[in-house]
């Protein structure tokens, strides 16, 4: 009796739509859920089914969990009326997972429905199986599915074929029994079934292509004969997976592949053919020429000329394909260079990224400077995300394989300096790493680095951008480490101790303080004349004034380094014997640090008797 006025799904949807605010909506959902919880226990099949229907809706579109109703879903799946059953199956497909325990109950139900005379009922069961299959279910139902492969109905055969992918994935042992049956479908009289079969083979081959190599002759025949575009696409993709395993295969399919490329009007197929060619046929000049020609057509078609008739999809996919063909057909790039570069400026981020990837892959040591200049130029006007993609590309390309492409490090240090000043710069960590790395590795460029470091420290207008902070740490480190090259040390110490530095993160402040220490040591130990001694005094006073408070800084590292610094100062001021000590410390700092190889640890011999 309670259910007399049960709300249907339509009512539920209307009710939801009438809620203006999100809070109203969630209250409405909660209320609906309460009603559903009661209705779902009803014995009247219509009411139970309607409740499950509403619940499925809320589950799919409002994120409502329905795992608690799994048993009732099975009840609805078992109902005799097809329209009720269907609702149960819909709910099951979208909500059952591997851990749903009622799955044990549905094996027989599925068995029954799979063998139904009503092809739509059987199809429904297959669909459900394709989404919720567990190893147990598959094991029990494999035979039923295999029987369906021989159905007279195309509808059943195509769906049963597709389900085999799930069957093989969840229960690999079934491959032994069922593989032959799957392969038979390559000869099915209906191309949809053949297409389903090739689709399954392709998915399986993506995980492990070797076992499917022996099907090559069959697949070859299909490549020559078929006119079904979908089938051909999957076929061509499958060949791309098989070709690396058998070089002779590539030679064999070259001609039919080209024939398909010439004949078809579907750009989708042409692009897949090009992709497959880049996987295994790059040494066949005729094939590559054809592919390049087709690609040029596509690129030409993608540019309407005045930007109006541009086909953005062809632009994007075309650029990707040029990238794939690059190893053997770099001419494509030179021919379309201006188009590719202008795509860096394209309004569409997808096209921008495709263009960037292409440009980066064309980089060599001879065009590095030009490429970097182009990328930098676009970075200045690009919006934040793409700007940083550009900057990040510059950084990773130049530092690749220990800066393999960089011939002039002085130039590169300049680039790093420019990079940091780009408005949307966010690559602080990487720049810090590279500045220090280059300092360690490239002695000749340390003077440039010192100059750059000085510029960063003194020009505090750049300090606004929080991403600069790591770079400042590198700058401070460089100033301290290569102190003999630093120029006006007083100026640098002033910069390192300016009031603004206290707003920097503690880790950066700590580096600053250490740099001041190194500079002071260097300076004090080198002070020979009275004039120098005066400057040392000035420096000490400056340090006292600006860094005094840092001795009680909250961060322990900063505190410690500040204390060390002041300890050194009191040491310097206590004249007696400080000279020798200072010289000693200075020498310790003067020793060159070098980069440590990542294999160094392995080379350390473990001493006898040490158990690790």
């Amino acid at each position: 009796m309670d259910y007399l006025f049960q709300r249907s799904l339509d009512d539920l949807v209307k009710g939801l739509r009438s809620q203006a605010a999100a809070s109203g909506e969630s209250r409405y959902v909660a209320k609906a859920l309460e009603e559903i919880r009661k209705e779902i226990k009803a014995t009247d099949p219509h009411i139970k089914a309607a409740a499950v229907h509403k619940l499925a809706y809320l589950n799919a579109l409002h994120g409502v969990d329905m795992a608690w109703a799994a048993f009732q879903v099975v009840e609805v799946m078992s109902m005799p009326k097809f329209s009720h059953k269907k609702i149960g199956y819909l709910a099951a497909s979208q909500s059952f997972t591997d851990s749903t325990d009622v799955l044990l109950l549905i094996t027989n139900l599925l068995k029954k429905d799979l063998s139904s005379k009503n092809e739509f009922e059987a199809g429904m069961a297959l669909e459900c199986l394709s989404r919720i299959a567990t190893p147990d279910l598959v094991r029990d139902l494999t035979q039923d599915v295999l029987t369906m492969l021989g159905s007279s109905k195309l509808y059943i055969r195509k769906k049963a074929t597709l389900v085999l992918f799930k069957v093989f994935s969840k229960h690999p042992e079934s491959i032994r029994v069922a593989f032959k049956r799957l392969v038979e479908k390559l000869d099915d009289r209906d191309s949809q079934v053949v297409a389903a079969c090739v689709s399954v083979l392709h998915e399986l081959a993506r995980q492990d292509p070797q076992p499917y190599l022996l099907l090559a002759p069959e697949l070859y025949r299909l490549l020559v004969e078929s006119t079904n575009n979908w089938l051909l696409i999957k076929l061509v993709k499958l060949f791309a997976l098989l070709m690396p395993l058998e070089p002779r295969l590539a030679k064999k399919i070259a001609e039919p592949l080209c024939e398909q490329m010439r004949r078809t009007s579907a750009k989708s197929l042409v692009l897949e053919c090009i992709r497959t060619i880049t996987v295994g046929l790059l040494d066949n000049t005729e094939v590559v020429e054809l592919a390049a020609g087709k690609l040029q057509e596509i690129l030409a078609a993608s540019h309407g000329g005045d930007g109006e008739d541009d086909d953005p999809n062809l632009k994007y996919l075309g650029l990707q394909a040029v990238l794939d063909l690059l190893p053997v057909y770099p001419q494509l790039v030179t021919q379309s260079k201006s188009v590719i570069i202008s795509c860096l400026n394209d309004v569409d981020p997808s096209v921008q990224m495709a263009s960037l990837r292409l440009i980066v892959s064309m980089v060599s040591d001879s065009n590095l400077a030009d490429t970097v200049q182009i990328l930098m130029r676009y970075a200045l006007s690009a919006e934040k995300i793409f700007c940083n993609e550009l900057l990040s590309s510059i950084l990773s390309t130049c530092s690749r394989s220990f800066y393999e492409l960089v011939t002039d490090f002085s130039w590169y240090v300049g680039v790093l300096g420019e990079l940091v000043r780009v408005p949307n710069f966010e690559q602080g960590k990487e720049v810090e790493r590279q500045l220090v790395d280059i300092g360690l590795r490239v002695e000749s460029v340390r003077k440039d680095l010192s100059r750059l470091a000085r510029d960063f420290l003194i020009d505090s207008s750049t300090w606004e951008n929080s991403h600069i902070h790591r770079v400042l740490a590198a700058a401070a480190w460089i100033a301290g480490e290569y102190v003999e090259l630093a120029g006006d040390l007083f100026e640098i110490v002033e910069a390192l101790l300016q009031p603004r530095m206290k707003k920097l993160p503690p880790s950066v402040q700590a580096v600053f303080l250490q740099a001041v220490l190194k500079i002071l040591v260097h300076f004090a130990s080198a002070a020979a004349t009275a004039v120098d001694a005066e400057v040392v005094d000035k420096m000490v006073t400056l340090i006292r004034e600006n860094a005094g408070s840092l001795q009680s800084h909250v961060d322990t590292e900063v505190q410690e380094r500040a204390s060390n610094l002041f300890g050194l100062i009191s040491f310097i001021e206590d004249e007696a014997g400080s000279g020798e000590m200072l010289a000693g410390i200075r020498e310790a700092f003067a020793k060159d640090l070098g980069p440590v190889s990542q294999f160094s640890q392995q080379r350390v011999v473990v001493p006898d008797g040490l158990e690790l």
Binding site: L61, D65, L90, Q94, L126, K158, W230, A266, P312, N313
Partner: protein, 145 residues
């Protein structure tokens, strides 16, 4: 493989959400939000492909089409052809159009079961099962006779 099919309106409200990988309802809602934010910033003349690595994993893409107030989105991995799937979206929409006579968003809102069925006739377990609109319409009409 097709990882998911989503239909959402231009305000981000999902009208159809089918996932071919097992995901909790909470995760599904999160994904719908992320997909929406990936699409809503795109203008009309942009290409129909968006790289979706951050949402669905490496080498996945959103292939989408914008019709009136709705986005139709197919999430694919590298095993699918982008242009092929774009054609498939067209098939999906044309089929809905045949079945609902000049389909609009409201038709999809009020026909949860039927719209899901149409999709099930096109994509099964993440793979394409039928690409011919006439065949699909025939089957759906039989099912709902």
């Amino acid at each position: 493989m097709i990882d998911a099919v989503l239909v959402m309106n231009t305000q981000g409200k999902p009208r159809l959400a089918k996932f071919y990988k097992s995901l909790s309802p909470v995760k599904q809602q999160e994904i719908v939000r992320k997909v929406y934010s990936g699409l809503s910033s795109r203008a009309e003349h942009f290409c129909n492909f968006v790289e979706a690595d951050e949402i669905f994993g490496a080498r996945t893409k959103l292939v989408y089409k914008h019709f009136a107030t709705l986005y139709f989105v197919f999430v694919i991995d590298s095993g699918e052809s982008e242009l092929g799937i774009l054609d498939l979206i067209q098939v999906f929409v044309e089929t809905l159009d045949s079945i609902f006579k000049n389909v609009c968003e409201l038709d999809i809102v009020f026909n949860f079961n039927k719209v899901n069925t149409v999709l099930d006739e096109i994509v099964m377990g993440g793979q394409v099962v039928e690409t011919n609109s006439t065949e699909i319409v025939k089957s759906v009409q039989e099912i709902f006779k």
